[in-house]
């Protein structure tokens, strides 16, 4: 086992640190779930892309630097250490892009990846439906082939970023009369398509973080089919693996939050009851455990292993860790915890935002109950029925 970074990796860290310190906006951007904030975040994506910092582990031809996943982890560490803006492009770059790289045609790769890397096309996910949440195989939105187009009719929901984004990647039923996991396909659909209506949904903080999407005979070019026709379930599971497993939530984000939590504790220490300190330590411990586990997972992936059901354990761990960490911050802040803004609002309500968002963690990307079922059945071997 070798836990030393190479001199090249150390130099890379320095380079990232230097660039970020010169470019990260000095004040926090408004939430990307507002039009104004979305525009600011898109500009930030363009700034990252201009110097090829947006996707360091992507091949160079698509806007990356062709580096390995260890370098990506180093980048993430420096990124969150610098308190750089959250990635408005995350659904595209972390979920769709790896799927395109695995399943896309050459034409799709060169059509979709560079504008995604550049921040010119921002993506939303369109999988869930009112009747297909945890039971995703109950998808009913249908796509009927008509010449060189699919005609899509139905409804999607909980589509994050879809209010302001440019494209969505949808899972739809292409095979008439098919049941459950069969007959589904993945389609890439422009959100300004004729017949597509977006209804913003306000999330807990009041901002329209996601949307309902209504498809009324939306015509989608057949070349926007990603992966095999009627084989969309497998393609979607690969995306879900990325989402739960590795890319969406690297340890750095949580480690940065844990460091801020320790500072918060130190500022309020004198008025806290004796158990709070242990919760703070526990929050820090969890982020370190997550980091160690991620480096081990990355070492295995770099050696050729693929991420399978263990992504469910990953998702359970980070989502519950994040909720605990932010809950602890809320406890520390006491009467100030409810304050969103104003003089006494600690850090402009950042912890409150973080706590609310952490409550979504155990729900999105497949609820934690679903993840526990997956682990129990596929890893531990307990009977389905």
């Amino acid at each position: 086992m070798d836990i030393e970074f190479t001199s090249a990796q150390k130099a890379f860290r320095e380079e990232v640190r230097e660039w970020l310190s010169a470019h990260v906006p000095k004040t926090r951007l408004p939430s990307f779930d507002t039009q104004e904030g979305f525009d600011f975040h898109r500009e930030w994506e363009r700034t990252l892309a201009k110097d090829k910092w947006g996707n360091v582990n992507w091949p160079e031809e698509y806007g990356g630097r062709g580096l390995d996943l260890i370098s990506w982890l180093i980048f993430e560490e420096e990124y969150y250490r610098a308190d750089a803006p959250l990635r408005v492009s995350q659904n595209g770059i972390f979920l769709l892009a790896p799927t395109i790289m695995e399943y896309g045609t050459e034409q799709q790769k060169s059509r979709f990846l560079p504008p995604m890397a550049a921040g010119d096309e921002i993506w939303a996910q369109a999988w869930s439906e009112p009747g297909a949440g945890s039971d995703m195989a109950a998808i009913r939105t249908k796509a009927v082939r008509d010449g060189d187009h699919y005609v899509v009719t139905g409804q999607k929901t909980w589509s994050s970023r879809a209010v302001f984004a440019d494209w969505c990647f949808a899972l739809v039923r292409t095979e008439e009369g098919s049941q459950r996991h069969n007959g589904l396909s993945k389609l890439l659909i422009p959100l300004d398509s004729k017949g597509l209506t977006r209804r913003p949904i306000a999330q807990l903080d009041g901002d329209p973080g996601f949307a309902e999407l209504f498809f009324d005979e939306v015509r989608v070019p057949a070349e926007n089919l990603l992966g095999p026709e009627h084989g969309g379930w497998g393609v979607a599971m690969a995306t879900a693996g990325f989402e739960r497993g590795l890319l969406l939530r690297s340890p750095a984000r949580f480690q940065a939050a844990a460091a801020r939590l320790v500072s918060l504790y130190k500022q309020h220490k004198d008025r806290l009851s004796s158990g709070v300190g242990e919760q703070v330590i526990q929050a820090w411990m969890n982020t370190e455990r997550f980091c160690a586990a991620t480096y081990q997972l990355v070492a295995r992936v770099e050696a050729g292993a693929s991420i399978t059901s263990e992504s469910s354990a990953n998702k359970l761990f980070w989502s519950e860790m994040d909720r605990h960490l932010h809950r602890t911050a809320m406890t520390i802040m006491g009467a100030q915890a409810e304050l969103e803004e104003g003089l006494d609002a600690i850090d402009n309500g950042r912890w409150l935002d973080g706590y609310m968002f952490s409550l979504a963690g155990p729900i999105y990307a497949g609820t934690n109950e679903i993840q526990r079922n997956i682990l129990a059945e596929r890893v531990l071997g307990l009977p389905r029925k």
Binding site: E288, R289, A292, R372, L380, L382
Partner: protein
């Protein structure tokens, strides 16, 4: 940066696991708990090189780092190894003088180690009785605090590793029981209440092992993190396992108790939860160490 075992190390770990799982069966554990005579397996451990894992090559050892010993300790924990093997090979050996070591290795090679240990134990203190029927304890005088802190680093890592091995074993026993035991016309393992409990323990194990490996290599705060995480995981595993086993889990007849009691014992060994938590309090809450991303490794 390649946080994986080398192939050679993995082969050694696998060989140890195969040996422990094959020889230290529950039948053997039960017999030992009942005070019956069993075959002395120390000669085989010596032949496999397990006793000298951390000893220098110059005295016939394998000179492996603590992290390899930790993986072997996890395998020993899984098998509920009822011998003071980890204490000898993972703690005494790395702290022994060259002279002591060459004596030790000679004893090991001549397969005489077990009587040597028994004789040493017999003259070193009064026996005390553990709830774990497979632990032979004696009350001995400790060294100074600094010695104890140093030895604790090894002991904490290796006891943490044994704890997650024990935890995994308790999960596996519970899975087997839940597949077999039927109520309401179905195996109880088909119920989500059971599945979710066990998935939670599994997740905690998976997110404790890597920090133990990091602790073995890096020392410092990771050691305290690893031991506390392993304690919490093991207690969760034991309480979950007894719940899944229902009334059977509360008996002396089902083997679960052997592993559960070992877990209880190791939670308090080599720095208990309070010891390690206080160290973390000093480091995290009262210290000024740099925390956050980029300082873990």
């Amino acid at each position: 940066m390649d946080f994986r075992f080398t192939e050679d190390q993995q082969d050694l770990i696998d060989a140890a696991k195969t040996f422990f799982d094959g020889e230290y069966t529950v039948e053997r554990l039960r017999a030992m708990a009942a005070g019956e005579e069993v075959e002395n397996l120390w000669p085989q451990m010596g032949q496999l090189g397990l006793l000298g894992i951390m000893a220098p090559e110059s005295v016939g050892g394998l000179e492996q780092p603590l992290v390899v010993m930790a993986a072997v300790a996890e395998a020993a924990g899984y098998a509920g190894l009822p011998e003071p093997y980890i204490e000898i090979a993972g703690i005494s050996v790395p702290h022994a003088t060259a002279e002591q070591l060459s004596g030790f290795i000679q004893h090991a090679m001549r397969s005489e180690l077990r009587p040597y240990i028994d004789a040493a134990l017999a003259k070193s203190g009064d026996a005390v009785k553990s709830i774990d029927p497979l632990r032979n304890l004696i009350k001995a005088q400790g060294g100074n605090d600094e010695d104890i802190d140093n030895i604790n680093l090894h002991g904490a890592v290796l006891s943490a590793a044994q704890l997650i091995g024990l935890s995994q074993c308790m999960v596996d026993m519970s899975v087997d029981y839940a597949k077999d035991r039927h109520q309401f016309g179905k195996p109880i393992g088909s119920f989500q209440a059971i599945k979710h409990h066990l998935a939670t323990v599994y997740t905690q194990i998976e997110f404790t092992r890597p920090i133990i490996h990091l602790a073995a290599i890096k020392g410092g705060a990771a050691v305290h993190n690893a031991k506390v995480a392993a304690i919490d995981t093991a207690i969760l595993a034991a309480e979950t396992a007894i719940q899944v086993h229902g009334g059977m889990g509360y008996t002396y007849e089902v083997d679960l108790h052997l592993f559960m009691k070992r877990a209880w014992a190791l939670c308090g060994e080599w720095g208990d939860r309070n010891y390690h938590m206080k160290k973390l309090e000093d480091y995290i809450l009262n210290g000024d160490a740099e925390l956050g991303p980029g300082v873990t490794f």
